[in-house]
Symmetry: C2
Subunit: 372 residues, 2 copies
């Protein structure tokens, strides 16, 4: 009688952080691909581009001028999705688009305030995160800490999202290395779901463990699984403070998460040695990403942590970073999460274990680094 | 004092079908675009392509041969995401990837069975849905009815998803006009959420209205809003049986929904006059899509209805179709739902009202149709 095999048989896995499922069809990686191919981003960029809106000293589209910065550089997003000041949305305003139904539960609206900034990672136009030095990456983390600290102190801000879109395939409109900050007057849907799950997990387990945390437990479990053998390991790399792994419930082909090994609610509380560890694991992971298909690996990356330092549920939060990269088979063939995925459920074509094993096998030395 | 304006000020809108929010930043449509541009699909295709896996009489990648079909044509997907037969996932199987943690609530897995088919819309390689005749589109709907009917009668099937990915930008790997059917042994996450919402709405309103339905109420409300004036209308077009509209909570720039105006749980029960109405509104909507940017408009489209005819919650379901098209500004500039959207919350750059008004303004005659 045939045995169930994770590498051959379709199954669904549950994501306990968001409370949703992912369909996994590992045999499907074998189908031929005749669809859209991405441009592999292997272009050589100059260290300084006079037409770039993000390079030091340059004029931006709106006329503002960048400082002649030499490290990281934070400035307000000229096309911010939210603004600090705007009128409230009254029932009269809502009536303009929902008429007499303005008070119905089918037309719910909230006015949203906040602010958006850009965080340049380096003055060098040709750099990317994995190619920066550990010192430079540590400086980015310190910049995130200060952005997060300042916005946390602003009572009009309820949530701070730090993220990076890397590569044209992920909607990045400028290759100069940079991330963004969108800070809002309300906690958005995705982190709200995660906080719900973290809180519910704590409450369900607090009687036996007063410090119960879903992600603390998950890190412990993945350590045990890895110790039990290569086949059940989803860890890509780790150091004293952080673990980089392909979560059991990953959606994107090479999706990973960097998780703090001990309970830390946000980057705000990371000491210098922890900052160095986070820089190291970020460099190690993104370098393996680039080596996988020998290209500048596109992804969207973001930090999940306490919405602000002052949020009432901050203590339940456990600092982690998600990396969602679209590539599936090569530098030019990506996974599309489209029809079935949009209408029904995310679907993936290789197991989390297979993805982890391929990432683990990559060299920790960046493929573009000249060998001595 | 400044008044709140939906066209100028950031706000969040609530999606009562899925219970999630979308951030709307209408002023943001003004930012310059320097990122990825799509290839506009204006290529001329032959009516028959000897290398196409879907054309009548051709050999497929796996060696099977297509019938010399002259109308619609359904055959099993050669790279199915799920199979009818496979072993169950036992705790022992799970232990192979989750070790001693196999029984923990962090490692939840379900074996998933089912079947996947391809539905060719037409023998003509160069056709697209909006270019087909009303008779041909009616035949597609009848084909969906029979596929849905047959799979509903299979006790191992819990959910049937009919969908179409159109265009390379939406991961479609073959331009021959076709859709897909993925039928599964479990109800996937997205429809499960919708059914929850429809059921909860019914239960909350049943005491005052024994036929209370979220989508019936929404259709009525949008009729009233449209009657109150152009500014508050999200209806693109309608006929006796169906309404095509940009939902108040749309995520994609030109997202629409075709909704049955009366409570119908699935396509199974559509009579011939209803089929003709559905064909007409589908042609009218997709034709306006193509006319908007004078290109073959990419999208993912899917039918939401009773999971199967026999599902215990079937009576709460209300037949509708979602269209999720990625284009934002032109045939080559799309919206990316990436960093902030993946980590925090979907975000859009124009209001649902603006999108509806632009679609309404399009000619009902396809731009490629030779004028007399
Ligand atoms: O089956 P196709 O058309 O080759 O594949 C397409 O649709 C599927 C269902 O939405 C997706 O899983 C694939 O990523 C996409 O490329
Ligand atoms: O702000 P950018 O980099 O121009 O824009 C990019 O990231 C934003 C935040 O994820 C998205 O809303 C945009 O669709 C995307 O193109």
């Amino acid at each position: 009688e045939e045995e169930f095999s994770f590498a051959d048989h379709s199954h669904r896995r549950f994501n306990p952080l968001t409370g949703s499922w992912v369909l996994c069809s590992p045999h499907r990686a074998k189908r031929p691909w005749l669809g859209q191919v991405e441009e592999a981003s292997s272009e050589q960029r100059p260290t300084y581009d006079p037409t770039c809106f993000l390079c030091p000293g340059n004029k931006r589209a709106t006329g503002a001028q960048n400082d002649c910065y030499t490290s990281t550089y934070v400035f307000p997003n000229d096309y911010a999705a939210v603004h600090a000041e705007q009128p409230d949305c009254s029932t009269e305003s809502l009536a303009l688009v929902a008429g007499e139904n303005a008070s119905s539960d089918l037309f719910r609206v909230e006015s949203t305030r906040g602010q958006c900034s850009v965080v340049c990672f380096s003055p060098r136009h040709d750099a990317t995160l994995p190619e920066l030095s550990l010192g430079e990456i540590s400086q980015i983390i310190r910049t995130w800490q200060s952005v997060y600290g300042n916005l946390s102190a602003d009572p009009s801000i309820a949530y701070i999202q730090l993220f990076e879109n890397k590569g044209a395939a992920m909607g990045c409109s400028n290759p100069h290395p940079h991330g963004q900050v969108w800070a809002l007057s309300a906690v958005p849907s995705e982190p709200a779901k995660e906080i719900e799950s973290l809180k519910a997990y704590h409450q369900a387990h607090a009687s036996t463990n007063p410090n119960a945390c879903l992600l603390c437990a998950y890190v412990r479990a993945e350590e045990e699984n890895a110790a039990a053998g290569e086949q059940s390991s989803r860890i890509v790399l780790q150091n004293e403070s952080f673990m980089a792994l392909v979560p059991f419930w990953a959606t994107w082909p090479f999706e990973t998460m960097i998780v703090a090994k001990r309970h830390v609610t946000s980057i705000a509380s990371l000491s210098e040695p922890r900052i160095a560890d986070l820089a190291e694991i970020t460099q190690g992971l993104t370098c393996r990403y680039d080596n996988l298909f020998q290209c500048s690996f596109p992804y969207s990356m973001g930090l999940h942590q306490a919405p602000t330092a002052a949020h009432p549920d901050a203590a339940y939060c456990h600092f982690h970073m998600h990396f969602y990269p679209p590539l599936l088979r090569s530098a030019t063939v990506r996974k599309f999460l489209v029809g079935f995925e949009m209408m029904a459920e995310p679907q993936r074509d290789l197991t989390a274990e297979q993805a982890a094993s391929r990432l683990r096998a990559q060299s920790p030395i960046h493929y573009k680094k000249p060998s001595l």
